[in-house]
């Protein structure tokens, strides 16, 4: 029997993987994918909890999260392309013009 706890555990694991990835990976695209993993783990939480609490609010929230994630992807990838054109790299270690 799969209960809401299993879903919560799975989404917590996914969220942790995403967070860990953002903190350790160097490639901007991979970083962005890790952020998407985080957002989707949140979606999973919302849907599981929506069924658990018994109303639709959580499922509606997921639609908005997906829309926003799509908008963010468009802007984020455009920024990465602009950076790549100037620096020939999307390694986060090359984000080094601005510091201290």
């Amino acid at each position: 029997m799969i209960t809401v706890n299993h879903y919560m555990l799975l989404s917590a694991i996914l969220f942790t993987i995403g967070t860990f990835g953002v903190l350790t990976r160097k490639n901007a695209i991979v970083l962005f994918m890790c952020i998407e993993v985080m957002l989707n783990s949140v979606n999973l939480t919302f849907i599981a909890l929506s069924r658990h609490v018994g109303n639709m609010d959580g499922q509606i929230f997921v639609f908005f999260v997906m829309t926003v994630a799509a908008a963010e992807a468009a802007v984020g990838l455009a920024l990465m392309i602009a950076f790549y054109r100037n620096k020939d790299s999307i390694d986060v270690d090359d984000f080094n013009m601005l510091k201290w």
């Binding site: 919560m8 985080m38 957002l39 959580g58 963010e72 602009a82 950076f83 620096k87 984000f95 510091k99």
Partner: protein, 486 residues
């Protein structure tokens, strides 16, 4: 089914979102106008954006003392929302005024810039009027996505690209935390409405001890604290503020920050009221940390934009003091302070925009040497803004800080007020250093590239008048701010 539809239609109250509706509509019209304009001509779009903001401002003001709730309690356009919306509108208008000449100087006369600022403002208004975490989240994202573009607007300039990307990654990262927090709160209380969460906690007092509820609340706060650039979530601020186009830096530190404060206040004071004692101790720590880090790191900065970025972190700390106080004076002081900060910070940045050369490599401490002799008016004006940022009378920075610390003392946080005042004393050093450079160093340059253009002059004049008027006669605005609190 038909009943549900009927009910949904009755719940829609367009009046409640009219200001942001008008603003987004006009912004889209402006986008179309800029598509059909000649390449490189942006001035008419800039002035039309000002017109759009004035119209929105008038529509917004009809909401004063006339609270409108709509969309089944997801939006509440009350005095509080009106006040914060007006702050964002003023910030956007001043930013647009100082932008036109700047964009031409830097070689990016692209008119999408202005509609993007308007969209940011619309998002800020949603944040200020949202009473459902869903509305606040959407407002936050409309605001953030437009700001990511604006921060990276100079697309051939690596510095601007880098600022946009850093802002994007850290912003999206913090959004993940915010959303996870919302999801957990939803799981415990079964609703995403702020007053619904408060009602649930009131009905079930032991919720406040529920781990999932506390974790949700804290994760939610991470998202907001990131936006207001409170320590320890401030690391993006200096980099993004330094790399972004200067008017956008000025705008980010005023409008969006005020909107994030509005949402933070509504969520904590209404929604998480059950955690008040825990939250005030947390905010106490964060306020002290934010003020101290901002001020002490600013001491060692040579780049003026970066210095003002750290100063904006410390000002977020002062505003957090008002939230620690959690009383009427403290809260209305935050509203007051946000408007004052808009005037003084945008004014200071407008002066920097005028004295910058193309590329702005001369905006350093040494770069302003002797400015007070070569350009006396700009020198005096910048001095007034810096005095206000320091918090010296008779400027508005003083009255703003006075109200904030008065709120903290009334709530019994004497030590917090003392630490705040000590921090202001530290900040004297780095603000005064700029003034010393301007007046006590021999000019190395003759500043002959500085030309004063009318729109920037207007925005500087408005800021000076705002700073001095609110410094000498703060009562009228403070009364409005008191009416806007909840």
């Amino acid at each position: 089914m038909e009943n549900l539809v009927q009910e949904a239609i009755q719940n829609v109250n367009l009046q409640a979102i009219m200001p942001s509706l008008v603003l987004s509509g006009l912004a889209m019209v402006l986008l179309m106008i800029s598509v059909f304009s000649k390449r490189g001509s942006t001035t008419h779009v800039a002035w039309l954006s000002i017109v759009a903001l004035v119209i929105t401002g008038l529509v917004t003001l009809t909401g004063w003392n006339n609270p409108q709730a709509g969309f089944a309690g997801s939006v509440l356009f009350d005095n509080f929302a009106t006040f914060f919306s007006m702050i964002c509108i003023v910030a956007a208008a001043l930013t647009i005024l100082m932008s036109d000449d700047y964009l031409r100087r830097e070689g990016y006369p692209v008119s999408e810039y202005y509609p993007l600022i308007l969209f940011t403002t619309a998002g800020a208004m949603w944040m200020a009027s949202g009473t459902d975490l869903m509305t606040i989240f959407l407002g936050l994202e409309v605001l953030s996505v437009s700001l990511y573009v604006l921060a990276g607007f100079f697309r051939n300039q690596t510095r601007s690209n880098e600022a946009g990307l850093k802002y994007f990654f850290l912003g999206a990262f913090s959004t993940g935390f915010l959303l996870y927090g919302v999801a957990l709160l939803y799981g415990v209380t079964g609703t995403t409405k702020i007053d619904g969460i408060a009602a649930y906690v009131q009905a079930n007092p032991d919720t406040a001890l529920n781990t999932m509820f506390i974790a949700g609340g804290l994760l939610l706060l991470v998202g907001f604290l990131f936006k207001i650039a409170a320590a320890p979530f401030h690391m993006w601020t200096p980099d993004v503020y330094q790399g972004a186009p200067t008017p956008i830096t000025a705008f980010m530190s005023a409008g969006p920050k005020a909107a994030a404060f509005a949402a933070l206040m509504r969520v904590t004071i209404i929604g998480l009221d059950g955690l008040q004692s825990e939250l005030t101790s947390l905010f106490w720590l964060l306020a002290v940390l934010t003020m101290t880090i901002g001020n002490f790191v600013a001491l060692s900065q040579k780049d003026l934009k970066r210095m003002l970025a750290y100063s904006s972190i410390s000002h977020a700390g002062y505003a957090l003091v008002g939230l620690v106080a959690w009383n009427a004076i403290g809260l209305s002081a935050i509203l007051f302070y946000m408007l004052v900060y808009t005037f003084m910070n945008l004014g200071a940045f407008a002066v920097l925009i005028l004295i910058g050369k193309k590329g702005e490599d001369n905006l350093t401490l040494d770069g302003v040497a002797g400015l007070g002799y070569k350009k006396p008016i700009l020198g005096i004006v910048l001095t007034i803004f810096l005095f206000s940022l320091m918090g010296l009378p008779p400027t508005a920075g003083f009255t703003g800080k006075f109200y904030i610390f008065a709120g903290a003392i009334e709530a019994g946080y004497i030590w917090l007020a003392i630490l705040g005042v000590m921090n202001s004393a530290v900040s004297l050093y780095y603000y005064l250093r700029v003034i010393v450079q301007m007046y006590f160093r021999d000019p190395e340059e003759d500043f002959n590239w500085v030309t004063i253009n009318v729109p920037t002059a207007i925005s500087i004049a408005v800021s000076v008048v705002g700073v001095l008027y609110l410094g000498l006669f703060p009562n009228s605005l403070m009364n409005l701010a008191k009416m806007a609190g909840f």
